[in-house]
């Protein structure tokens, strides 16, 4: 359902330029959004997607160019200006009040009033009506915090509908949703499209791009590459438009996984019956030198819980751990680090980077923590570490003094990988290291992981993208409903097999 090009656009951005100190974030970008279309903004991290969205939603002021909404030229000074113009935004991180009820969140600022007082019954009734309009039948009196991220996102969209928005901006709404939740969201998006709402969509999942979009606008390095009808732009061409070069790197990597692992040797890491009540049913895990063990499963299947117990980020209440055959007790990250185990959390911003410190400081933090505060990593040493790890991973900009929060997600992930590699681990656990990052950075990280495993490092690799898990790992641990349901050898199977395996309900015997 491609919206007619003849329809008057609801949003027209012309020649948008935004500069930050020393950087041109956007240069003369045009963007057009028409009523009743789902328009996906594509580009690598750092291409300017977020900046363009923030210009449209009034977060950043533009340095040059014009924004026309509904035929009138606007100047957005604040996010409230943009909202008043009918532009609503649902961010990746939900910006609702989780300590209020669902109904209160939906109707916030639009409560039904009688005689100056809020009529709560009518307010909740209205909220329920709006939610039902999106196919969401939940108790409006329940606290928002008790619902999943997916439901919270739909509540945020309902809220946008209350304000009768003509433009809905969805900034990576699907990055933490599972398949079913994505379907639910897409159904809502299609419904809104049919009602004439213009939707600006951002995602990193190519499948989703083609499943839902009518039109694509591609950005690269802060400049417009072009606008295309989704149906007329083949996937490979889209990728090369985004990265500006032919990308054979990912396919070249395919099945580097097929490598012989010496499983007769003592495993680097061995856990038996590792678990914690209410978090993870006791599970076994073995990782050998030079092996990449993938963990597959849906969000909430227990894959993150398993690795957090391995690392001691959460204290396990059952299980025995052996490191190279010797019994070990890991109940805190410190213990894990002392056993040369590294862990990169899936939540980059909250549990990974130290935003206000520089890139160099973030990278040496791991070494520094290991050494203790008395023996400071000297400046020259820090720069050498930066050169060895960060530069090798292609951290951009290649400036050790830049604050790490100013980097794009992919580059932050590289910084974290560098931090851990610099501590010379024998086992590295990577929880969703490629989530929400651009395809170039993804290829860099996958290549590095394969290379490190080739050199003998043991790796545990978690990813929502099953294809990626299969491509990179020799063995796949499959999780479901907070328990381990089995192990598969990855070169025997393809994604369909894996999905099938996860979908099957019975708990298989551990293969290993």
């Amino acid at each position: 359902m491609l919206a007619d090009t003849e329809v008057a656009p609801v949003v027209e951005m012309r020649g948008i330029t935004i500069e930050f100190p020393g950087v041109k974030a956007l240069v003369g970008v045009d963007f057009t959004l028409r009523p009743g279309e789902i328009h996906t903004l594509m580009g690598e991290n750092g291409a300017g997607k977020s900046t363009l969205i923030k210009a449209l939603t009034g977060v950043y002021a533009i340095d040059a160019g014009t924004i026309t909404v509904g035929g009138r030229q606007r100047e957005f000074r604040t996010t409230a200006d943009a909202q008043a113009a009918g532009i609503s935004t649902v961010y990746q991180e939900i910006n609702l009040c989780t300590n209020l009820t669902v109904g209160e969140n939906v109707m916030l600022g639009h409560e039904v009033r009688t005689a100056g007082r809020i009529d709560w019954r009518a307010t909740h009734r209205d909220a329920a009506r709006h939610l039902a309009g999106l196919g969401l039948e939940i108790d409006t009196h329940s606290l928002l915090a008790t619902h999943s991220i997916a439901v919270q996102q739909l509540v945020a969209i309902s809220r946008a509908m209350v304000t009768e928005s003509r433009v809905l901006v969805l900034d990576e709404p699907t990055s933490s949703l599972d398949r079913g939740e994505v379907e639910q969201l897409f159904a809502v998006m299609r419904d809104l499209r049919a009602r004439g709402v213009a939707i600006l969509f951002v995602t990193h999942f190519l499948d989703q791009v083609y499943e839902i979009s009518d039109r694509l606008t591609v950005l690269r390095n802060g400049a417009l590459v072009g606008e295309y009808p989704a149906a007329e732009l083949p996937r490979a061409e889209l990728i090369s438009l985004m990265i500006g070069r032919e990308l054979d790197e990912l396919s070249a990597l395919s099945r580097t996984a097929v490598r012989e692992i010496d499983r007769d040797a003592e495993p680097v890491f061995h856990a038996a019956e590792l678990g914690r009540h209410g978090m993870l049913a006791p599970a076994d895990l073995e990782v050998f030198d030079g092996e990449v063990v993938g963990i597959a499963g849906l969000l909430g299947s227990g894959r993150t819980e398993l690795v957090r117990l391995v690392y001691g980020a959460v204290r396990p209440d059952s299980g025995r751990v052996r490191i190279r055959g010797k019994a070990a007790r890991i109940t805190s990250p410190r213990h894990a680090i002392d056993h040369r185990i590294a862990f990169s959390s899936e939540d980059r911003r909250a549990e990974g980077i130290i935003g206000d410190l520089t890139v160099a400081e973030n990278i040496v933090l791991g070494i520094q923590a290991k050494r203790g505060w008395l023996r400071k990593v000297r400046r020259a040493e820090a720069l050498a570490v930066f050169a060895d790890y960060a530069a090798a991973l292609g951290v951009r900009p290649s400036d050790p003094n830049r604050l790490v929060r100013d980097l794009s997600g992919g580059n932050q992930q590289k910084v974290l990988l560098a931090r851990w590699l610099a501590t010379a681990p024998q086992l590295i656990i990577l929880d969703e290291p490629t989530r929400g990052i651009d395809i170039g950075a993804k290829a860099d990280i996958q290549r590095k992981v394969a290379e490190l495993a080739g050199q003998g490092l043991a790796v545990v690799f978690i990813s929502s993208e099953l294809e990626e898990v299969l491509r990179i790992s020799q063995r796949v641990v499959v999780m479901r409903d907070r328990r381990k349901i089995g192990e598969l050898v990855s070169h025997d199977i393809d994604v369909a097999d894996l999905v099938d395996y996860i979908a099957r309900h019975e708990i298989a015997e551990t293969v290993a």
């Binding site: 100190p21 950087v23 990974g352 410190l357 008395l374 400071k376 931090r419």
Partner: protein, 350 residues
Amino acid sequence: MMNVLRHRLFWPIAALLVLVIVNTVARPSFIAVTVQGGQLYGPLIDILRNSAPLMLVALGMTIVIATRGIDLSVGAIMAVSGAVALTIIEGSPDPDGMGTVLIAIVTGVLVAFVLGLWNGFLVSVIGIQPIIATLVLMLAGRGIALLITGGFITTINSDPYRFIAQGYVFGLPFALYVSLAAVAIVALIERRTALGMLTEAVGINPEASRLAGVRSRGIIWAAYAVSGLLAGLAGILYSSNIMAADANAAGLYIELDAILAVVLGGTSLMGGKFSLAGTVVGVFTIQTLKSTITFLGVPPAVSPLFLAIVVVIVVLVQSPRLRGWVARSTRWRVRPAASRDTEGSEVAPS
């Protein structure tokens, strides 16, 4: 020029200079420094000397605030350390003996250090919110001090003890050397070792620091212990200045002055990045302000109001947002058609 303007210490230093200039214009004798018997005297010298207790307290406060904490108990700890030291000297047969005074000082500071350890224990091990944890000692500390002095204001006569706050070395007040030495030692420990960076990491993102293997418990604990120790030293200086241990008046409200000094110096109450140099400037600003009040003869009844007004002005001058508004509105007057091209630099890309 722009680089000077952008330096994070530019506005704190500018505020301090303006205060000094205003004082000098009001009464030129403000910057006069006279030499009597090889010793320097004058309002500026008084400021340097009298700021010593606040300097010590504010240094500790800076480190605590960097960990996302706050230490309200510093004033009470000052009272305790002064009470301990003076009670020892009072009870000694030889109050003028160097040994007596040294024992008194070391014991007083050690007690303060233990109180700091107690604060750190409550915050880092038990996990009590810093404001509540240190409130305990803020209230109980003065009671402890009264208990030590037996409910009286202990006064002593001891020349070596008097020397700490009132003596001169090489023409300058000894207290100034104490405060400079404290600044130098704290700065050395924080910046020459990794303690400063690790403290900032814990303050910016505690969970990420924990997962990176930083021993955040020890770092937070140490911050409160150092704050207690420095407050103890400040208590010695204070009691030496008045040669009395006044459990109720010693260090009263100094925690608020210290917090203000830290903030004036550009360290955020949200924790994380801290600036010791900024704190030093902040301390001098506050001390200058206090002298201004006495110097300009502001009636005591309105002096808190005067102080509040000046602080508000200083904070406003330092506010990046306000400066942005001013810059923008003046620019608009010059060329009304110009777009808001200052905005981009105000909002960092996140």
